[in-house]
Each structure stands twice: as structure tokens, then as C-alpha cells.
Amino acid sequence: MQRFVVVGAALAALAWPAVADEPVKVGMIVTLSGPPAALGQHARDGFQLALDQLGGKFGDRDVELIVADAELKPDVAIDRARALVERDDVDFVVGTIFSNMLGAIFKPVTDSGTFLLSPNAGPSPFAGANCHEDFFAVSYQNDQNHEVLGRYAQDQGFERVFLLAPNYQAGRDSLAGFKRHFDGTVVDEAYVPLTQQDFSSEVARIAAADPEALFVFMPGGLGVRFVNQFRQSGLADRVAFLSAFTVDETTLPAQKDAALGFFGGGNWSPGLDTPGNAEFVEAFEAAYGYVPALYAMQGYDTAMLLDSVVRAVGGDLDDRDAVRAAIRAADFQSLRGDFSFNTNGYPIQDFYLLRVVARDDGNYQTEVVQQVFDDYGDVYAAECALD
């Protein structure tokens, strides 16, 4: 009998630490291959940096990070998401970069009862009528960055503006977002295929329309090609260049001087004066050797948010209501400064007009010119039935 007691005690001794030692599992789905791989790389590296600074722990629990590549293919993203929630049984899914990838994984992840946090994508459907209590965008709502430029163009009193975007859903949303706060004349708007190589045709149209300002949404390689060609055309000297997701730290290494002085809009820049931001940028550049973009900041913030959640619930992730309340509380210091969650799980935060500058070390980054929106929520939150 005594023997059984000893064995039982030994088993208990083995079993207890096993539960306490079980790591918090985080599954990350971002796009890490193909031309837009840089965006996913920023988000992953930002998340990893936060994790390293936290000693590999959220609260006092170890963290196991499983990174999957969405490959910018909806079917692949769904498979990877299912594997994370079913096979790996993760506690949180962090994804995605692109809105169409988020659309693909949204249902499989939320149906499984796993919390989903987006480090970038913030499409309108999930902000409005289809909002979900287990989904949180740690980034922004997609329209907002475009609204920044529309508001700025309005405040500047630009009368004639030319709009240019790729011919797909996000491109049309972008121009709609710009027009939300802009009442001036849109002299012309042009849509180009996502695979456009040569913009000389559009540049000629812009020259013929002779606008005061140009607003473009040209993400990734599109932006590199467009900015270089626009600069070469000489139009930059007489047309103000306003943009969203076109000149940021993922594209500036290729745009360099061609983008100098061009305007963008966003919720953050490496030079933003907020607590801990300068330290973050320095640590990031030391660890990864490149200038972080907003995707890196959002990855970092997502990890810090999760750390605050695990701390708030004392490491007990089984009480889903408590975990959800802890996420909504957003009790962490965002690199953006002010940050809270709206009723729809999207952020309320400040937005800035940004301008491209050259740094003394030969790199390029965006700098804040002025604040455009203060504690700004998105226009879809009213349609969300959560409270």
C-alpha cells in the first residue's frame, strides 16, 4: 500500500509541473513567400522581438510560437489555419497580413473557439454587421489610412485631385475611403491591373489632367514601380503626392530618393514620439538589420497585448470570458501611444500624416508631419451588434 502511495505521489509530482509547464501556444499565419513576403516578415520579426524581450514568456508561462505561411492563397491559408486550431490546438491565432486571407481563415478559426488577432488586415465586413466577439484587429480598419489623406487634402483646400488605385476590392475601398472626408473635385480616377509594370500611360493621363494633388494606393512592388516612374516624369515638382501603403519602410529601401518628401498616412512611424518607441526601433534594427514598418510595430504590439492578457488572467486561459475581457481591456503600452478597442474589436487610435525622409545612416523612413485624427474609430462599428 505504501508503495502505491509513493508511486502515486511520484506520478502527481510528475503530472503537476507538466500542466504548469505547458506553454501558451500561439499560431501565426502571415504571408512569407512571393513578392509581398516582406510584410509578413516585418510582422513576424516584430512579434518575435517582443517575445525575446519578454524572455520567451507571456506572464510566467512559456510561449510556443508556430509560424505558418499563408502564401497569399486562400485555400492554403484555410488548411494552415485548420492545422493550427485542430492539430496544434493553439490558444491564439495571429493573422493575417492581407484582408482576403483573413476572410479565408476567419470562420475556421472563430468556429473552433480560438481567439483570432489580426496584426494587419482590417477589412470592413468584420468591423460591421459580421463582427465577432473572438476577433480583434490590433492594426486598424482598412479605410482609415486612406481617410487620413482625404481629410488632409480637404484641410489643405486642394480643389483638384487625381486618384489612382489597383483594380480590385481593396483598391476601390481605398478611393471610397479617400472620398469620405474629401469634398473637392476628383478630376479623374484611374484603375490599373494588380500586375501593372509600366505606369507611363497613367503618368501621361495625370499630366494631361493637371491636378493639384494625386492620391494613390499602390501597395508593394506596384508602389516601387509607380514612385520611380512618377519621379522620373518630373510631375512630382508640381503635383502633391498623397498615398496610403505606397511609401513605407517595406518599399523605401527600393524607392530611396525617388520617394523623398512624398506623403503617406498611418497610425505610426519609426520616429513617433511615444513611450518605448525609440527603444523598439533601435532594438529591431539591431536584431534584424532593417528599418521596421508599421507591420513590425503591429506584430510587436500583438505580442505585448497577449502578454498583458496572460498576466491579467493569471495564466489560466480556460476561462474564455475572462480572456476575452482581458483582450478588450487592452492593458498594454502600445508603441502607438493611445490605444483601446472599440465595441467591434477594432482599435480606437490616432492617425498621422507621414512624410518620407532620408536618415543620416543612409536609410529611409517616414516621419510624422501632423496628427490628422485623434482617438479615431471606424465608421462600421455602429453596425456591429456587440457591446
Binding site: 516582406a38 507611363s200 501621361a204 525617388a258
Partner: protein, 307 residues
């Protein structure tokens, strides 16, 4: 649309046309002469751009960088032919498509490993960096004229090479009667290899020329390849002259058509619908042109005629 704007768009169309021609020339030779479908041809274009960027970074001289890139692209083309494509000549087209598609995936990822996922950019050489004013306020870069000029020169050189030299004669003969050529004691494999390497070099040259115009990034050749296939189908498979005419046609239809179609739709529709429908229709335009040409001449414009 004003006359000057039309002139600018025609120039843009010509410039797209010559880049397309350089890619399509190699493709049509390889397809026509060897009956080999090489989806990985676009990869040669991308590699040419990356190599030009790299050699420019090392030497600081664009022309020298481009020349070194050409030699390296030729070497890489021959290496790929030796290692992979040679095994595929006798297989059916499906095997060729699968294998060369695999090469695309491999090379795209390999390029990303070496140069990173961020697009690279390359400034045009100093002596071509100026601009000309065509429309008041709009500068047209001299470099774009240089691209058009270089493309036309290469086209002329290719024409002379294929029509006036012994090697060109063998290529022409090999494309229509490979067995007879082989029976006459010509090493058809060696001929294939030379054609293949040459085609790879032309695509690399196009990539190098395009590098200062567009961003250098992974997958940059994949989109171009589809249009290049349209070009060789319109021109007639195996025909250099056809590829030249079709490339300029596709370049002009794509650029000028995009403008005319949007402007034309605006007469019938409100501007915002015209702006959305116009580009969608314009991107179909080259395929519509292809369909019409194939309906009239099912083998393409210049098929069956010597090269």
C-alpha cells in the same frame, strides 16, 4: 485625347513592345525549333534583371553590369538546359509544363533567398538619365528612348542572324524539318542548346533593360510570360518576324487601347463606371485581338513562313 498624349502613349506602347519582343524571340525559337514549352522562360527575364542590379552594384557601371549579366544569363541558360531541360525534349508537353513550372517555383524562391523579398530598384545610367519635354509639364525619360532603340537594334541583328548566316539557316531548317537537318550531319542537340542559351540571353537582356524602368522583384517575369505567349501565338510559332510584329501590336493595343477604351466608354457611361469597366476590358483586349487573329489565321500571322 490630345495628339501629344497619343504620341506619348504610342511611345509607351513601342517600349512595352520591344521588351515583349526580346522575351518572345527566345520563347518562339525554343518552342518553334524544339517543340519545347518552356514556362521558365520568364524566370530568365527576372534573373537578367537581378544580375544587372548585382553587377551594377559591384562595378558601379550600368553598361558593364548589363554586359556581365548577359554573359552570366547565357551561362545560367546553358546550365539549366544541360541539367534539366535536356531531359525533357522527348517527353510530352504536359511533362514539360510541369517540370518547367517547378523551375519557376524553385528559381523564384532561390532569388528571394539570395536578394531578399523586398523589391530592388536600379537608377538608369547617368548619360541616359535626362528627360525630354513632350507634353508641357511631362518629361519623357531619355532612357525609355534608349530602350526602344536598343530593342529595335537587337531585332535587326536577329533578323540578319537568322536570315543571312549559316547558323540562322540551320535554325530555320531545324524548325520545320529537324529530321532532315539531323540526317545531313548536323548535331541537332548542339543546335538546340545554342538556340536555348541564346534565347535565355535575350530574355536576360530584356530584364536588364527593364530593371531601371520597373522594380526588380521575384515573380516579375511570370506576368510577362503570359503576354509573351500571346505574342508568339499571334505572330506564328517559330517566327522571329511574327514575334516582332506581334510584340509591337500587343504593346500598342495594350497601352493605347487602355486609354482609348476608357475615354470611349466615358462617352456612353458615367465616369466612375467607365473608370472601372475600362481597365477591366482593356486587360482583356490583347486576348480579344488574339482570338480575332486566330479566327482569321489559325496558325498566326507569319506561321509556316521561314522564321
Amino acid at each position: 485625347m490630345s495628339g501629344t498624349l497619343l504620341l506619348v502613349q504610342v511611345l509607351n506602347g513601342l517600349q512595352l513592345g520591344v521588351i515583349l519582343f526580346l522575351v518572345a524571340a527566345g520563347l518562339t525559337l525554343v518552342f518553334g525549333v524544339m517543340g519545347f514549352i518552356n514556362l521558365a522562360h520568364g524566370v530568365q527575364y527576372m534573373v537578367g534583371a537581378y544580375l544587372t542590379w548585382q553587377f551594377h552594384a559591384w562595378t558601379g557601371n550600368f553598361a558593364l553590369g548589363l554586359a556581365l549579366a548577359l554573359v552570366t544569363a547565357l551561362g545560367l541558360g546553358l546550365l539549366l538546359e544541360r541539367l534539366i531541360f535536356r531531359q525533357l525534349y522527348d517527353r510530352d508537353h504536359l511533362d514539360q509544363v510541369l517540370a518547367t513550372f517547378g523551375v519557376i517555383l524553385f528559381v523564384n524562391e532561390a532569388v528571394k533567398v539570395v536578394w531578399g523579398p523586398v523589391p530592388l530598384s536600379l537608377a538608369p545610367p547617368e548619360w541616359l538619365a535626362g528627360s525630354v519635354t513632350l507634353v508641357p509639364g511631362l518629361l519623357y525619360p531619355v532612357y525609355r528612348f534608349a530602350v526602344i532603340g536598343a530593342g529595335l537594334l537587337v531585332a535587326l541583328g536577329l533578323y540578319l542572324l537568322v536570315m543571312r548566316t549559316r547558323a540562322g539557316m540551320l535554325v530555320r531548317a531545324g524548325s520545320t524539318h529537324p529530321d532532315v537537318v539531323a540526317a545531313l550531319g548536323v548535331d541537332i542537340r548542339k543546335l538546340f542548346m545554342a538556340v536555348f542559351g541564346f534565347g535565355a540571353m535575350l530574355a536576360g537582356f530584356a530584364g536588364g533593360l527593364a530593371a531601371p524602368l520597373f522594380a526588380v522583384q521575384t515573380g516579375m517575369g511570370d506576368d510577362l510570360l503570359i503576354v509573351a505567349f500571346v505574342v508568339i501565338v499571334i505572330g506564328g510559332i517559330g517566327s522571329i518576324r511574327g514575334a516582332f510584329v506581334a510584340a509591337l501590336l500587343v504593346g500598342l493595343v495594350d497601352t493605347v487601347g487602355r486609354q482609348l477604351l476608357t475615354d470611349g466608354l466615358r462617352l456612353a457611361l458615367d465616369p466612375s463606371s467607365a473608370n472601372q469597366i475600362g481597365p477591366a476590358l482593356a486587360s482583356m483586349l490583347v486576348y480579344v485581338v488574339m482570338a480575332v487573329i486566330l479566327a482569321i489565321r489559325p496558325t498566326g500571322l507569319f506561321a509556316g513562313k521561314a522564321a
